[in-house]
Amino acid sequence: MTTIRATFALLAAGTLLLAACGGTDSTASGGDTQKPDGACKPEQIKLIGQVRNQTNPYEAAWLQGGDEFAKKVNLTQQRLTYDGESAKQQEQIRQVLASGDARCTVLNVLPNGDSDTTPIVKQAQAAGAYLVTQWNKPADLKPADYDRWIAHITYDGKDSGKQIAEALIKAIGGSGGIVALQGILDTAAAKDRFAGLQAALAEHPEVSLLDQQTADFDRAKALTLTKTLLTKHGDAIKGVWAANDDMALGALQALEAAGKSGKVAVVGIDAVPDAVKAVQDGTMTATISSDGPWQGGIGLAMGYCAATGQLNVASVQPRAFYAKQFLVTKDNAPQFATPKVDPAEFECANLFSRVTGPVADG
């Protein structure tokens, strides 16, 4: 009996702990729930940014960008983090929509995976909350079919994989052997980025891909793997192509331990602070930035403009789009070292200035 009671006590404590980790400081605003579209007063609007966790620099920067937009319009952003657990993400959305005035709520969400986007969209649509999603959505789910799902923002992985591959090929002088560290093999990000590398290699037959392995986007795994690849291929390796910066940084540590830091070119994607610093120092050749702070601010800005009637959602075209990404090299690294948001980009007239093209069948 005591065991059972103790188990419950522990579970209850665990739940409290998890709730506390979520960092909810809800500011429930009352008021009438029936309002026509775009008739929210600025002070009635509730801004919510939801990401997986605050324990990686990218998502922390995202939330920071959301805070900066909120400050610009004299509001505060409610930060939600779901620790990469799909069920928790849905539960948080449900709670947020149930408290306060859903029709004046703006959600800027990073869905955990493609399939998580569908229930989030349906909930937001039913409650009348404005929603912007980023990175993940199933191909057949289209924002244009909903009037509250303003936009889906994502980045062209094939393009980023190709851009860094070209930077790498240039850095090794146009010929020689490289190795590729892939991400988690069954994710779209890993597949698209690797397809970009292959496209670049097809244009440069004098560069050979000596080996390609997966390190699951993980820094520690990339470190061990790169050491093994150095054993296998030795000095034939002139460059390391990594599908994200964490793996690139792991590879960098392995090269350093082997006394080859700076002699082998390394590229990654994400522009995490350590990588930008490495690019600045010259130990890394290039990385790609999607501009996390912009992502955190722009979704809230779109929702804010729609809720206050300054943006007509139906007129947005395309609704699911690729946003501009930036190749970070030694020349422009300093400006990415301290990422700043440009408030002008969050003006209602400039919301779509970074669209590079529609997502295929989006």
């Binding site: 005591t2 065991t3 103790a6 188990t7 006590a9 522990l10 404590a13 665990g14 702990l17 998890l18 506390a20 980790c21 966790n53 605050q54 324990t55 990686n56 620099p57 922390a60 920067a61 939330l63 920071q64 620790d83 892939q182 093999l185 080996d211 390609q212 392995q213 997966t214 993980d218 820094r219 520690a220 470190l223 061990t224 793997l225 050491k227 093994t228 690849l229 150095l230 054993t231 296998k232 940084l249 792991g250 540590q253 350093e256 331990a257 995490v272 602070p273 350590d274 610093k277």
Partner: protein, 317 residues
């Protein structure tokens, strides 16, 4: 006979793997690769020692991910780094090992005191650790700049990294503790039959808490080692290591039910997993197939080891 196969089976499997890889890949049988292998297995070895102390009690410890996250952040903030003005050096490392031990002690006290299954308490402690790590992280990744700590991973003595020596020393110490101290011997006995020990008047709880504490200290040390390797404090430093460590222990012949195996067995398991990951890359198995091949070999190795014992182990949970 069966006893002997259980004891030496995993070691034979390890030798067979090494022989196969050495024949198939000339790079595998180089001194450079031996250095690389031992270096690659160092962190897993220290985590596995911790997990083994708990496993031989018949308990399970899933707290490595959280404890290592908290300790990785703590150590990167205590030694010279990019975020705080602290520069405690070796003292910082000791404090972090103590922090790990405190987490382990908490797991032990909760399991013994509240009589909650260790599976639950250690998962809870892992969540607490990740919470602490998140608070310490505070949005900015600390980069370690202490040359003394970074030397652990990059500096070499006689060709081997200091991490390798540290792991070997830890293994030796853990083996001595298990072999020659009351704690080590009672731990095995507790795993074999806790009720009997309790009836003979031994305060079992105390030894269980001590074993969990030692495990926590190991996770703390492993977190320091991984931070030295990666050069920054990373919340996910221990992600997946609990399961890797338990797999290594079981592959090596430490039993999940407790009472059998120990440090030496588990280390054979660590070597098997490390050699496997290294060798499959070197002989050029496609990355798309590697995980499946690893799984098949692990299941086969455990199955072959336990085959002669299958009559005795009538109940398998």
């Amino acid at each position: 006979m069966a006893e002997r196969i259980q004891t030496y089976g995993p070691a034979a499997a390890l030798l067979a793997l090494v022989a196969v890889f050495a024949v198939l890949s000339p790079q595998f049988r180089t001194l450079g690769n031996l250095q690389n292998l031992l270096d690659a297995g160092a962190v897993l070895a220290v985590v596995t020692i911790g997990a083994t102390y708990v496993l031989i009690l018949g308990c399970i410890d899933l707290s490595a991910a959280g404890v290592m996250g908290a300790c990785a952040l703590a150590v990167s903030l205590l030694v010279a780094n990019s975020r705080t003005a602290l520069d405690l050096g070796p003292l910082g490392v000791l404090l972090v090992v103590a922090l790990g031990a405190a987490f382990g002690c908490l797991s032990g006290v909760l399991s013994v005191g509240l009589k909650v299954p260790s599976f639950m308490t250690t998962l809870g402690v892992s969540a607490i650790g990740l919470g602490v790590a998140t608070v310490l992280f505070a949005g900015v990744q600390p980069t370690v700049s202490d040359p003394w700590l970074l030397q652990w991973a990059s500096g070499r003595w006689l060709g081997f990294t200091r991490l390798t020596y540290l792991a070997l020393a830890t293994v030796a110490l853990a083996w001595l503790v298990q072999r020659y101290t009351r704690l080590g011997r009672y731990a095995l006995a507790i795993g074999g039959g806790e009720d009997i020990l309790r009836l003979s008047g031994i305060r079992v709880g105390r030894y269980k808490v001590a074993a969990f504490t030692l495990a926590g200290a190991c996770y703390g040390l492993a977190a320091v080692m991984i931070t030295a390797q990666l050069g920054s404090g990373i919340v996910q430093a221990g992600a997946g290591l609990s399961f890797a460590a338990i797999t290594a222990a079981v592959v090596g012949g430490t039993q999940l039910a407790g009472g059998r195996g120990g440090v030496a067995h588990s280390m054979v398991g660590v070597l098997i997993l490390t050699v496997l990951a290294n060798g499959l890359v070197l002989i050029g198995v496609s990355p798309y197939a590697q995980r499946a091949v690893q799984g098949v070999i692990v299941v086969f190795a455990v199955g072959a080891t336990l085959w002669p014992l299958r009559h005795r182990l009538e109940v398998v949970k």
